[in-house]
C-alpha cells in the first residue's frame, strides 16, 4: 500500500477515497460492476462465516450468559467489569512488555535472515530455510515438554549449564521476569521461520535492476540493504509488523503450555495475557458474555495498534 507510490503513483490505502460527485455515485458503482462481481464470492463467504459470528459476538458481549439457558441483558456490565479488573490491566502490561521486546526483534531478525538466506553466496540456504521453519511444524505438546525440560529449576538443562559455568540457577519458570523471558524465547523460536518465509516471498518481488543500479552507484551490501531492500519491503514489513502485533496481542499458546497448572498466568501473574484470561473466562468459568466483551477489547487494541503502525509508515514516507 505504500511502496507502489514510488513505482506507479497509485494512491495508497490511506489516501482519501476518490469518489466522484455525489450524484454520480451509482454511476461509479455501475462502472465498476466487474470489480464488485469479482470480489463478491469472497465477500459472500466472508459475510456468512465471519460476519455472522462477529455480529453474534457483539450481541453476546452485552449479555450475561453461562453458555446454557437464555442470555440475560447486562448492558455494559461486562465491559465495566473488565475495565476495572486489575488482572486485565496486569495482563495488558505483560502484553505490552512482550510487544516492545519482541516486535523489533522479530522484524529485524527475520528481515536480515531472509536477506541472507536469499543471497546466492550462501551455500546450503535451502536447507537452512527448512531448519528455520521446523518450529512451525513441530508438535506443540512436544515443544512444551522440551521447553519444560530445558528451563525447569531443579533439573533443567539450562540451569545445569549455568551452574556449571558459575552463574548459578535462574528461576526460569518460577520467577516473574525470567518467566516472561521464557515465554519470549518460546515465541521467538516459533515465529522466526514463519516470518522469514514471508520476508523471502517479499524479497522475490524486488526487481534485480534496483540492486544492479545501486551497485553501479557504488552502494555496498549494507547500503543496499538499507536503501533498496528496506524501502522496497515496506509493504511486507508492515504486514509482518501487523500480523506479529495481532499475534502478540492474542498471545495464548506459549504461556498456556509453559504454565499449564496456573492457566497460563505463571508466577505472580507475570505471563497472563488477555487471551489466557479470555479462554478461562469462557471455557472454564463459563462466562461467555464477558469473554465476548474481552474479545472486543482485544480487537479494539489490535485496531488501535494497527492504525498506529499505518500512521508511522506514512509519517516515515512523508
Amino acid at each position: 500500500m505504500t511502496t507502489q507510490n514510488q513505482i506507479s503513483g497509485t494512491p495508497g490505502l490511506m489516501s482519501a477515497p476518490q469518489v466522484g460527485r455525489r450524484s454520480s455515485i451509482w454511476h461509479q458503482i455501475w462502472k465498476h460492476r466487474i470489480e464488485y462481481l469479482l470480489i463478491s464470492p469472497f465477500f459472500i463467504i466472508f459475510g456468512i462465516f465471519h460476519g455472522y459470528p462477529l455480529a453474534f459476538s457483539i450481541w453476546l458481549s452485552f449479555q450475561r450468559w453461562q453458555g446454557i439457558g437464555e442470555p440475560r441483558w447486562f448492558g455494559l456490565g461486562n465491559y465495566e467489569r473488565l475495565l476495572k479488573s486489575e488482572r486485565i490491566i496486569g495482563a495488558l502490561g505483560n502484553t505490552i512488555i512482550f510487544l516492545i521486546i519482541l516486535l523489533p526483534i522479530i522484524i529485524g531478525l527475520t528481515l536480515v535472515l531472509a536477506t541472507i538466506l536469499n543471497s546466492p553466496q550462501i551455500k546450503g540456504r535451502k536447507v537452512l530455510r527448512v531448519l528455520y521453519f521446523l518450529p512451525y511444524i513441530t508438535s506443540a505438546v512436544i515443544v512444551a515438554i522440551i521447553f519444560q525440560l530445558l528451563l525447569n529449576n531443579n533439573s533443567g538443562w539450562i540451569n545445569g549449564i549455568l551452574e556449571a559455568v558459575g552463574i548459578g540457577r535462574v528461576g526460569w519458570l518460577i520467577e516473574a521476569w525470567p518467566a516472561r523471558i521464557s515465554v519470549i524465547l518460546m515465541v521467538l523460536w516459533g515465529a522466526t521461520g514463519y516470518n522469514v518465509l514471508i520476508m523471502l516471498g517479499g524479497l522475490q518481488g524486488i526487481p534485480a535492476e534496483l540492486y544492479d543500479a545501486a551497485s553501479v552507484d557504488g552502494a555496498d551490501t549494507i547500503q543496499k540493504f538499507f536503501f533498496v531492500t528496506v524501502p522496497m519491503m515496506r509493504g511486507v514489513i508492515l504486514f509482518v509488523g501487523i500480523t506479529t502485533t495481532i499475534g502478540l496481542l492474542n498471545l495464548f499458546t506459549q504461556p498456556w503450555l509453559l504454565f499449564s497448572s496456573s492457566s497460563g498466568s505463571g508466577p505472580d501473574d507475570a505471563t497472563a495475557t488477555l487471551n489466557t484470561i479470555q479462554y478461562s473466562t469462557a471455557f472454564q468459568a463459563s462466562r461467555y458474555g464477558e469473554a465476548a466483551a474481552l474479545g472486543f477489547i482485544i480487537a479494539i487494541l489490535v485496531i488501535f495498534a494497527t492504525l498506529i503502525q499505518l500512521r508511522l509508515v506514512r509519517t516515515a514516507e512523508a
Binding site: 525447569n152 529449576n153 533439573s155 519458570l173 496456573s262 508466577p267 468459568a285
Partner: protein, 448 residues
C-alpha cells in the same frame, strides 16, 4: 477443569487377561496389583434396544463398563467417540443447543450449573431406588438444590489422602498415623522432613490449581461450605473456615518442606524417582497416574493414609475432581441413558468394571465387598480399600461445589490471588475479603 480429573490404573491391564479365567471374587494377577472378575452374569436382556453416544478420551473407565453392559444388553448400540479435548467441545455444543452426546462425564460444578438451567436429564426417579447403596458425600454432587432433584449418576469418588514413602519415614523416625491433626502433628512432620533436606507437599510456582485444590480440602475440613453457601446464594469464601484454610496453607508453606515444581511435569516425577519428594497430598485418582510415570524401584514403597484433621472429630479427607455421569436434557434416549447410568455405578457389574479401571465407584456393596481386598502396585502390600472407604464415609456433607465453584476457585478469582497470601505478601483476611468482593461481583452470573 478437565485436567483435574485424571484417572488411570495400570493394574487393570493385567485384569483383562485374567477376567475370563477366574470366578467371582479375588483374582490373582501379575505384579502386586489385584483386580476382580465381574460377578457372574445375570440374565441377558435382548429386548432392550437403542443407541447412546458418549464423548470421552481414549482409555476411559466407561470403556470397561461398556463391555459389561453389552454382555447384558447385546442389542443396544453404544457409540463411544474418542475425543481428548472434549470439555470445550461439549460446552460449545451445549451452548449452541445442538450436537451434544447422550452421555458425558461431567465435573461437579458443571452439574450444578447445567442442572440449575434445566439442561440435564433429571434422574431423581432412578436415584431414589438405589440411594441407600451410594456414598452420601458423592451423591450430593448430583443433587441440584434449586431444582429439588438429581441430575445424573455419581461417578468416581475423589477422596484425598496422604501418599508417603514408608521406608524413608521410618529412616527419619517419623510415624504417619491414621489419626493426626494438622496442628501440631502434621506441621511438625513437615518441619522434620525439611530439616532432613527432603521435600513434602507440592506447591507449584504461582500456586495454580494445586493451591486451590488444597484450599478446597482444608475449607471442607474446617467445616466450610466452599466458596458459597450450598444454595449458591451467598459468598462464604471469606468466612472463618475459608480463612483458616489459607492460614494452614501458609503454615505448611512456611515449614520449608514444599516442593516447587509444576504439577506432574518431568521435574515432579524426577523428585519422586530420586527420593527427594517423600510425601504429598493426593486425590485417589492420582494413584494410577503415578504408577504410569514413576520408576519401578519406587513403586510398592509408598503408603496411603487419610488427611490429618483440621478440627477434632472433623472430616479426614476432602475432594479434588471426581466426575458425575450425566445426559443432556436433549437426549433422544432418556430411558436408555438412565438404564446405562444405573448399570454403570449402581450395579456390581458396573462398579467392578469401574474399580478395575482404577477409579473408585460410589457403590457401597462393591466398596464393602471386593474393594476391601484391593492391593496396588504403588502401595505394595497395603490393603487400601478400608482406608479409602473410611474416608469416603467421612466426606463433609456441609461442603458443596455449586455452579459458582469452578469460577470461584478458578483462574480469575482464588487461583490468581492465593499465592500472595501464602507467601505473606498480602494479609490473609484482607486478601480473602478482596476475593470475596470479586466473587460477589460475578456470583449473579451463576444464579438462575
Amino acid at each position: 477443569m478437565a485436567k483435574k480429573n485424571f484417572n488411570k490404573s495400570i493394574s487393570r491391564r493385567s485384569f483383562l487377561k485374567m477376567a475370563g479365567v477366574s470366578a467371582a471374587g479375588l483374582a490373582a494377577t501379575t505384579g502386586m496389583g489385584s483386580a476382580f472378575a465381574a460377578p457372574a452374569q445375570q440374565e441377558v436382556d435382548e429386548s432392550l434396544t437403542g443407541t447412546l453416544v458418549f464423548w470421552g478420551h481414549g482409555d476411559h473407565p466407561l470403556d470397561y463398563i461398556r463391555v459389561e453392559f453389552l454382555k447384558k444388553y447385546p442389542n443396544v448400540t453404544l457409540d463411544w467417540q474418542q475425543i481428548e479435548d472434549h470439555a470445550a467441545k461439549f460446552k460449545t455444543a451445549m451452548a449452541a443447543g445442538t450436537g451434544a452426546p447422550d452421555l458425558y462425564w461431567m465435573e461437579a460444578t458443571d452439574v450444578a450449573l447445567y442442572g440449575a438451567q434445566g439442561a440435564l436429564l433429571e434422574t431423581t426417579d432412578m436415584i431414589e431406588q438405589i440411594k441407600d447403596t451410594l456414598i452420601p458425600g458423592k451423591l450430593n454432587e448430583a443433587y441440584v438444590a434449586s431444582m429439588g432433584g438429581y441430575f445424573g449418576m455419581p461417578g468416581d469418588l475423589s477422596v484425598s489422602g496422604i501418599f508417603y514413602r514408608a521406608d524413608i519415614m521410618e529412616e527419619l523416625g517419623i510415624e504417619i498415623s491414621d489419626n493426626m491433626m494438622y496442628e501440631p502433628d502434621f506441621l511438625a512432620i513437615l518441619s522434620q522432613i525439611a530439616e532432613a533436606g527432603k521435600n513434602a507437599v507440592l506447591y507449584p510456582a504461582g500456586g495454580g490449581f494445586v493451591a486451590t485444590a488444597q484450599w478446597s480440602w482444608f475449607d471442607a475440613q474446617f467445616g466450610g461450605s466452599g466458596p458459597t453457601t450450598c444454595d449458591n446464594a451467598e459468598v462464604t469464601i471469606n468466612d472463618e473456615a475459608s480463612i483458616n484454610a489459607v492460614n494452614l496453607m501458609k503454615k505448611i508453606y512456611e515449614t520449608g518442606a514444599t516442593l516447587q515444581a509444576d504439577f506432574w511435569t518431568p521435574e515432579y516425577w524426577a523428585a519422586i524417582n530420586s527420593g527427594q519428594l517423600v510425601l504429598d497430598l493426593c486425590p485417589a485418582w492420582a494413584r494410577g497416574f503415578w504408577e504410569s510415570n514413576i520408576n519401578e524401584d519406587v513403586k510398592g514403597v509408598w503408603r496411603v493414609a487419610p488427611l490429618p484433621r483440621a478440627i477434632p472429630g472433623g472430616p479426614n479427607t476432602g475432594v479434588w475432581g471426581g466426575a458425575t455421569l450425566v445426559s443432556p436434557a436433549t437426549t433422544q434416549n432418556p430411558d436408555l441413558a438412565k438404564i446405562f447410568m444405573q448399570f454403570a455405578f449402581g450395579s456390581m457389574e458396573g462398579a467392578t468394571a469401574a474399580g478395575n479401571w482404577g477409579i473408585i465407584p460410589p457403590y457401597l456393596p462393591y466398596l464393602e465387598g471386593p474393594f476391601q481386598e484391593l492391593t496396588t502396585d504403588l502401595f505394595g502390600e497395603q490393603v487400601i480399600g478400608p482406608i479409602w472407604l473410611d474416608m469416603a464415609q467421612n466426606l463433609s456433607l456441609d461442603y458443596c461445589r455449586t455452579a459458582a465453584y469452578g469460577a470461584a476457585t478458578g483462574a480469575d478469582v482464588l487461583e490468581s490471588s492465593i499465592d500472595g497470601m501464602i507467601k505473606g505478601e498480602v494479609d490473609i483476611e484482607t486478601g480473602m475479603q478482596d476475593v470475596a468482593d470479586r466473587l460477589a461481583e460475578i456470583l449473579p452470573d451463576y444464579q438462575v
